[in-house]
């Protein structure tokens, strides 16, 4: 019995400090200094409606937009996940075939590998710079703009995710599409 009350006291102390106190301090610091990202990096339109979150991919099917990587959860922001398919799975091959058809890929103009593979979270907001340039022709045609202008826009929105520690540059698809809508009505 003595040990039970002792354990209870320790439990209460640790809950008070590590759950209540710790959460409160972290919350306070985050909301005070980085409220925008702390609340989910939400992007609002001019009229105040939320159009998405910057690090969270959303679905794009229109030819006038750039398309992100495939998502095993159809870009569900409240139920994220990957395909968990074995790399030899025929499901992956089937999915790849439909993506090849969608992007109009040919052996001469092969689809960049990440556009055929689902991300771990299903919400990966990035594609490589090459994968974005790959789609430039389609986007340009759909919007009646020259490929060169689209490519320039892509290049202006690339970043190196790990500075000099990463070799490939990536593009945030949502940011790119927002820029497309903003710059080219």
């Amino acid at each position: 019995m003595q040990s039970l009350t002792a354990s209870l006291r320790v439990a209460l102390v640790t809950i008070a400090v590590c759950v209540v106190g710790y959460t409160a301090v972290s919350l306070g610091v985050a909301q005070a200094f980085v409220a925008h990202t702390a609340n989910g990096s939400l992007i609002t339109a001019a009229d105040g409606t939320i159009v998405g979150s910057r690090p969270i991919a959303q679905k794009f099917t229109d030819h006038r937009y750039f398309w992100p990587r495939p998502s095993a959860v159809d870009y569900d922001g409240a139920g994220a996940g990957g395909s968990n398919a074995s790399p030899t799975s025929t499901d992956l091959t089937e999915r790849a075939r439909s993506l090849i058809a969608l992007h109009g890929a040919t052996p001469e103009k092969p689809l960049p590998a990440e556009l055929a593979a689902a991300s771990g979270s299903g919400l990966d907001p990035h594609i490589s710079e090459r994968a974005a340039l790959y789609q430039a022709e389609r986007v340009g045609k759909a919007r009646g703009l020259s490929i060169a202008r689209i490519e320039a826009l892509v290049r202006a929105h690339t970043s190196a995710p790990g500075g000099s520690l990463t070799t490939e540059r990536v593009v945030n698809v949502l940011e790119l599409n927002l820029a497309l809508d903003a710059d080219f009505r």
């Binding site: 972290s26 979150s53 569900d76 968990n84 055929a116």
Partner: protein, 563 residues
Amino acid sequence: MDALLLATLIVGGTALLSLPLGRYMTWAMDPTGPAPRRAGLERLFARVAGPLGHEQQGWKQYAIAMLAFNALMFVVSFAFVALQQHLPLNPDAKGAVEASLVFNTVASFTSNTNLQHYSGEVSMSYLSQLLSLMWLQFVSAATGIAALAALARGLAGRPEMGNFLVDLQRATLLVLLPLALIVATLMALGGVPMTLSGAASATTLEGVQQVIARGPVAAFLAIKQLGTNGGGFFGPNCTHPFENPTFWTNGLSMICILLVPMCSVWMFGRIVGRPRHARLVFAVMLVLLFGKIAVAVWFETAPTQAFAALPEVEQVAGNFEGKEMRFGTPYGSGPLWSVLTTCTSNGSVGAMHDSLNPMAGLMPMVGMWLNATFGGVGVGMINMFVYIVVAVFLAGMMVGRTPEYLNRRVEAREMKLAVLTVLAHALFILVGAAVFAATPWGRDTLANWGPHGFSEILYEFSSASANNGSGFEGLGDNTVPWNVATGLVMLLNRYVPILLPLAIAGSLARKRRTAESAGTLGVQDATFGAMLLGTILLVGALTFLPAAVLGPIAEHLLFAQQS
């Protein structure tokens, strides 16, 4: 190759960081000598622990106190999760959690495993995540650190092993809490959300509704990594852009995964008074770690096999399935993280393990089978201690001398306990996998057929027994058989590998100190290091090689045959 550069930076950087932090951790857990600033705190800890707080415990009392407190952890958390639908801090109105899932989840977090047969943002309220799960992440990690301190004190020849409730407070409040505060702040600054507001609802550019779950992620994330817990706030764990937004948070997480396990080795060395021995053990662990990283990275450079027959898809280095772009090349961070997280019994993931190439997917399994390449906080070094006892015994037999460790003779009694510890881990994994592979309990839940399906089952039991918590997540593991079986395995193989080594230390402590002589087998030189390495590999290989052949190796051979 930049993948190996990344690995060297992370592992090397964390090792450097662990030197001063290991010293701090020793001071926190084992203050010896006059420490006036500390005396007030120690009195407070003792008072909270009640009239028993001043009691110095032998191994048995320490173990019972640990079990009693952990049982309370289980009960308290169980209550909060089971009643979450009636409790506050539930902005997204999460409903009741099914009974066997409550059992599995609470057993999982109590045992520092954090196996998740649920998806956080789908099933858990904020209160459950914070009050039950995050609390358990603190105190289960602290339990491991305390157990190691006790073991070390016993081996150091002290008459008593300490006081569990006092040790627990030290570990929670002096070690884990400050680190967690720092890391949570850094993560929040790095873009990880930290809010109590419910999910946000967005209308995408194409006019589709997208509900975006968020929450108090930064706080949860910090202690999840530092305490080698591993349970994600979100289902896909650290592949989720909110749980791991950038390359830099990715690096920070990996450092946190490895940090306290590395510090544990230093703390052990300091308490037993054998710093050179600790350095040797650290080196052996590094050798195994880098070996696994190299193999995982190498095999993950092969492109996704499913696309091999499709000329319309680029065949470039790296398997992108289950990976995120912001972390660099797919054969870089993904496999590196998978090795770090499974050798430390952490279990968080930075890429989907079910989608790793077969031999790259084998490395996480090896990490869990050995469970001593740094291992979990505190308990990793305890596991290594068991291997050391076996190695010392084997070495002694080979040269015809009485085996001894730290000036105590290692005899049949200690060996029996050590072998029992190793066998328990092996039996839980192999018997469990066999039963589930042979019955619909496992077969009906597979996502992938063939050897990969067997791998999914094998992985799940390995993860439960090793208290890891990662999984080949295609497995439909939220069933009553899986929940009960893994729940029991997680609890049993959490505490048995703490109890038996504590008993070994208790038994050794009762013996007379033997004097060092010219014939004493040293435990701090390269020869012993090689012996230890060999023992670990021998025990691991003999026990688990057949299972590995049936799963990942068979899959790899099929894989290689097709290309």
